[in-house]
Structures are given as structure tokens and as C-alpha cells.
């Protein structure tokens, strides 16, 4: 009697070519990226605050997405999950954008940026009450030097985790066997707490400190949950978009994997709503003067429509759509939902950042679009570029066969 959960058929050597294409996409994303980033940064250094805030939002969003991909990847390894093996490469690609995110973040470390974006950079402008709080503890914590040290720590964690996991994945493609899987598994489990702590504090630094009075203990989880959801959406889109090419991961995604991706989307759309509701309810019902302005601005001014849009667009609509099993199994519809989810995740970060600049309501500017497209374009081009020369399916992974024969229970 077989007592193992899956039936083992031994190693499976798929005869796949290494990835040599993608130049078209690298070109398209690269051009969009360079133009978008160029326009935004030009505006920013020209002293336009909208450009700085948009760039900050776009950077925060795409970095959270890359970190989300990293968490997805590390969690899949740490949990010993075999089913995602066939579609692991797109997770690695999302995380693989990490180095370019660091480069894209450098302008935001310059004094011009800190000065334009963060009120704590100019405490002399604070009123007496704010200044009192600021002198409490934030003064030391938010001093630029300390701020830079923290940024360095986050990036060491993000880059170390990403690059080690990716380099072992590359080695696994060459030698196969269990050794690198085992190492990745332990490493991922050990790194996950640090990644999560780093993204939490990054959220505090990058977004929460935009409003110096505002603090919420769940903020890091809210920020991380959005990035994680965006990463799942991108993996879903990538798999569904490459279904017809045998050398691509999308071809090897069975309907059972697709179903699981749909379930993940559903779960983390709900998780986002849960975290968001917890924060909203407690701040709203507490009505403390130091906390409530964050929501006051978003609910009692011109930002209300966008807040309402998030409740329905970021939660209710995708939730209702994703519940039926049949929808999760429809490639085109699922693709549309995943694109929509990616879009609303961007809106969510926009909604966290821009009200700090325009307290009366949204003032849309060209930079809003150039920033998100620009930073995302460069990140995507870089991520695809890194896939060149790789197998798009972990061909020598001992669990590839388990992944391919993975079945949903009925």
C-alpha cells in the first residue's frame, strides 16, 4: 500500500530550451520605464512636489511587490509546498527585480527628496504640539543619519535573501538533486522573519512617516499585504499570458495550479480587507486626535470617492468574482481579475501617499501615471532580462513531477 501522499515517478528531465526571447518585452517595458522615470525625476528635481510624491508612491508600491514575490517564494520553500514548483520561476522573477528597486530608490535618499516629501525633515516648521511629540522620541529615530542606517539594513536583508535563493535556484537547474532544495528550504525559513520585519519598518519609514503624527501598529502588515497580493497577481498574469509556449512556465501551469492561484488571490484580497478594516474601525471608533486625521483626510474630503472605490474595487468586487470555482478556472476572466487586482493595489498605495500632499482631495497630475508606469516598466524589463538564459521551468527540481501531477481534491 502506498503511504506517501503523492506518487513518485523519479526525476523528470524535461527537454526544454533555455529562455532566449523576451527582447520585445524588455524593449517595450524598458522604453516605457526610462521615459516614465525620466519625466518623473526631471519634474521632481525641477521642484515639483507631485512628481516627488508620485515617485515615492511608485517606488513604495513596486518594492513592496518585489518583496511580496520574495515572501511568496520563501514561504513556498519554507512550507515544503511542492505544487508551486512548476510555476516557481515567475515568483523568482518578481523577487528578482530587487536590485533595480534599490537603484530606483536612490533618488529618494537625496536631501532634495527627503526635504520635499517628509515633514520630519523640517521640524522647524512644526507647530508647538507636533514639536512636543516629535521631541518625544521621533527626533532621534527620524534623524536623517539614522534613517539611512535603517535603509541600509532593509536592503541588505532584501538583497541577501533574494540573491542567495536565486543563485541556488540557478545551481539547482544545473545539478538537480535534493541538496539545493534543502538548503533553500532552511535558508528561506530562517530569512522570512527578517524579510517581514524589514518590510514592516520600510512601510513605517516610507509611508507612515509621511504623516508625522500618525501611527498604527498594523501599518506594516497593511503595506506588506498589499505588496504580497500584487505579487500573486503578477504571477497569475505571467502564467496565464504564457500558456501557449512550451518553453514557458505558463504552459506547464495546469488548471489545478491555476485554481490555486485564484484561491490565493481570493485569500489575500480578503486578508487585505481584514487588515484594512481592523485599522479603520479602531482608528475611527477611537477618534483620537493624534490618529484620526489620517482617516479624516481620506473620508471627509475629496478623497472619499477613492476610499469608497477601494472598499468595492479592492475587496467586494474581486471577492465576489473569485468565490465561484468556475471563475477561477476561466483563464481569460482570471487574467482580467488579476490585472484589476494589480491596478487596485497601485491605487491603494497612491491612496496612502498622495493625501499627505493634497489634504483636500486628489489632484491628478501627469506624474502620477509616469511614475507608476516608469518605475514598473524598469522593474519589469529588469526582471525579464534576468530570466534570459534560464530554464523557465525548474527542469531538474526533484519535485517538478509532484507539481505536475498535483491535483485539486474534488
Amino acid at each position: 500500500m502506498a503511504t506517501t501522499e503523492t506518487v513518485t515517478v523519479g526525476p523528470l528531465n524535461l527537454d526544454l530550451p533555455r529562455f532566449a526571447g523576451g527582447m520585445k518585452w524588455i524593449g517595450v517595458f524598458g522604453v516605457i520605464g526610462v521615459i516614465g522615470t525620466g519625466i518623473t525625476l526631471a519634474g521632481a528635481f525641477g521642484g515639483n512636489q507631485d512628481a516627488w510624491f508620485s515617485y515615492q508612491a511608485a517606488f513604495a508600491f513596486w518594492t513592496a511587490t518585489a518583496v511580496g514575490g520574495l515572501i511568496l517564494l520563501a514561504a513556498h520553500h519554507a512550507a515544503n509546498a511542492k505544487w508551486p514548483t512548476a510555476i516557481r520561476r515567475p515568483m523568482e522573477a518578481v523577487a528578482g527585480a530587487m536590485p533595480v528597486m534599490l537603484v530606483l530608490g536612490i533618488p529618494l535618499l537625496l536631501p532634495n527628496a527627503l526635504s520635499a516629501i517628509y515633514p520630519w525633515y523640517h521640524p522647524e516648521k512644526f507647530d508647538a504640539e507636533l514639536l512636543h511629540h516629535f521631541h518625544g522620541h521621533k527626533e532621534l529615530y527620524l534623524a536623517p543619519g539614522v534613517y539611512y542606517v535603517r535603509q541600509a539594513i532593509y536592503w541588505v536583508v532584501f538583497l541577501l535573501a533574494t540573491e542567495v535563493i536565486l543563485s541556488w535556484s540557478k545551481k539547482l537547474d544545473e545539478v538537480g538533486g535534493h541538496e539545493f532544495i534543502r538548503k533553500t528550504r532552511s535558508f528561506s525559513a530562517g530569512m522570512l522573519p527578517f524579510i517581514i520585519l524589514a518590510v514592516t519598518w520600510a512601510g513605517f519609514d516610507w509611508l507612515m512617516s509621511l504623516t508625522p503624527f500618525w501611527q498604527s501598529t498594523i501599518f506594516g502588515a497593511y503595506y506588506g499585504a498589499g505588496g504580497f497580493l500584487a505579487a500573486i497577481a503578477i504571477v497569475t498574469i505571467a502564467c496565464l499570458a504564457t500558456r501557449s509556449d512550451r518553453s514557458m512556465f505558463g504552459y506547464w501551469m495546469t488548471k489545478h495550479h491555476q485554481h490555486n492561484l485564484g484561491k490565493l488571490l481570493l485569500a489575500f484580497v480578503s486578508f487585505w480587507a481584514y487588515i484594512g478594516f481592523s485599522q479603520l474601525l479602531l482608528v475611527w471608533i477611537g477618534n483620537l486626535p493624534e490618529e484620526v486625521p489620517y482617516y479624516w483626510i481620506r473620508l471627509k474630503t475629496g478623497w472619499l470617492p477613492m476610499s469608497t472605490f477601494l472598499i468595492f474595487g479592492h475587496f467586494a468586487l474581486p471577492f465576489v468574482l473569485l468565490v465561484p470555482r468556475t471563475v477561477k478556472l476561466m483563464p481569460r476572466l482570471l487574467m482580467a481579475i488579476a490585472i484589476w487586482v494589480l491596478f487596485v493595489c497601485m491605487v491603494d498605495v497612491y491612496w496612502m501617499v498622495l493625501p499627505a500632499l493634497h489634504e483636500d482631495g486628489p489632484h491628478y497630475s501627469l506624474y502620477n501615471f509616469t511614475a507608476f508606469l516608469g518605475v514598473g516598466g524598469i522593474a519589469a524589463a529588469f526582471a525579464i532580462f534576468r530570466l534570459r538564459g534560464r530554464y523557465l521551468v525548474p527542469v531538474k527540481d526533484p519535485y517538478l513531477v509532484d507539481s505536475l501531477q498535483y491535483l485539486q481534491p474534488h
Binding site: F277, L280, L281, W284, I285, N287, H410
Partner: protein, 182 residues
């Protein structure tokens, strides 16, 4: 004419499904299977479409959620307005927990009762229990059952045919419930 239940035991789930499929193809409508655990593929052989309990559960959940919200709103904002620290009388965020819990509560009851209604449970007595050996169904036996309204010899004839399909044991039980109703 009486109602007779023909019961046949098969060696395993596969043999059971094969026999059930043949009988259904012949036009017997009320074939049922009895097994110690759900059998993969049984729904299709028995021609059972998607279970309706999910829809009843959904409606129950929605009714519950609406009831929950309306209770909070009607009692605290309309019938006896309660001002709590200046918060709005109709405080949607504060009413969501009760709305959610009531939705779950009603939904779960709808699920349970619709399952019982559709399966006809509780039914403490059923003629199939009369067949010797049927009690193993909850342990490791696989049985097939169907009822026909006919004379006794016709029922025995059918039973012989089922035996020919590979049944290891066949019983014919007269439905005493119909007798009692007469």
C-alpha cells in the same frame, strides 16, 4: 403490488460503480449507492447535479447579514436612538461585526437544514437496513440499492440479474412502510 427494495453488495467501489452505471443506463431512476466513505465518481453515475445546499446556504447567509445590520440600525438609530460619544447613529463600521456574525450563523443553519431536507434525514428507519450484512456499509462494504413496485417474483427476477453483474450478496426487502399505509 408492493414496493420492493433490491440490495446488492459488491466487492469494491469500482464494481459498484460499473453495476450502477449499467442499471441507470437501463432506465432505473432510483439507483443509490451505499459506501463507508464518499466514492469518487459516484455523483456522475447517479446523475446528481451540483448540490443545491450551496444556494440555500448563500441565501441564508445573505438573509442573516441583512437581518444583522437591520437589527443594529433599527434598534440603535430608529427605534431608540442611542448617542455614543457623538458617533453617528447609523455607524456602519461598528455594525459590521454583528452583520458578519449573523450572516455566518444563518448561513450555517441554512446549510445544515437544507442538507437534511434534501437527503430526507433524519429517517431513523429505512427498509435497506433490513438486508442482512447491510450494517457493514458504515465499515467497509459497498452496496447498491433501488426500489421497484411490482409483484414479488418480478423483484426476485431483477435481483437475479443484479447477481449476474457480480454482486457478492443480494437481498430483496419488502417495504413495510407501504404495507402499513394500506
Amino acid at each position: 403490488m408492493s414496493r420492493y427494495w433490491v440490495l446488492a453488495e459488491f466487492a469494491g467501489p469500482k464494481a459498484l460503480l460499473t453495476a450502477a452505471r449499467i442499471l441507470r443506463d437501463e432506465g432505473l431512476a432510483n439507483v443509490d449507492l451505499h459506501s463507508p466513505h464518499p466514492i469518487d465518481g459516484a455523483d456522475e453515475v447517479l446523475g446528481l447535479g451540483a448540490s443545491r445546499v450551496r444556494w440555500v446556504g448563500l441565501v441564508g447567509g445573505l438573509v442573516g447579514a441583512v437581518t444583522g445590520y437591520v437589527t443594529c440600525w433599527y434598534t440603535n438609530a430608529i427605534n431608540f436612538p442611542i448617542d455614543v460619544g457623538g458617533r453617528p447613529l447609523n455607524s456602519a463600521p461598528a455594525f459590521i461585526p454583528v452583520t458578519f456574525e449573523a450572516g455566518v450563523l444563518f448561513g450555517a443553519f441554512a446549510l445544515l437544514f437544507s442538507m437534511l431536507a434534501i437527503t430526507g434525514l433524519p429517517a431513523l428507519y429505512h427498509p435497506v437496513f433490513e438486508a442482512p450484512g447491510f450494517e457493514r456499509v458504515s465499515v467497509d462494504a459497498y452496496w447498491l440499492s433501488f426500489s421497484i413496485r411490482s409483484a414479488e417474483d418480478r423483484a426476485n427476477e431483477v435481483a437475479e440479474r443484479v447477481k449476474a453483474m457480480g454482486a457478492t450478496r443480494v437481498s430483496v426487502v419488502k417495504d413495510p412502510r407501504l404495507e402499513a399505509m394500506r
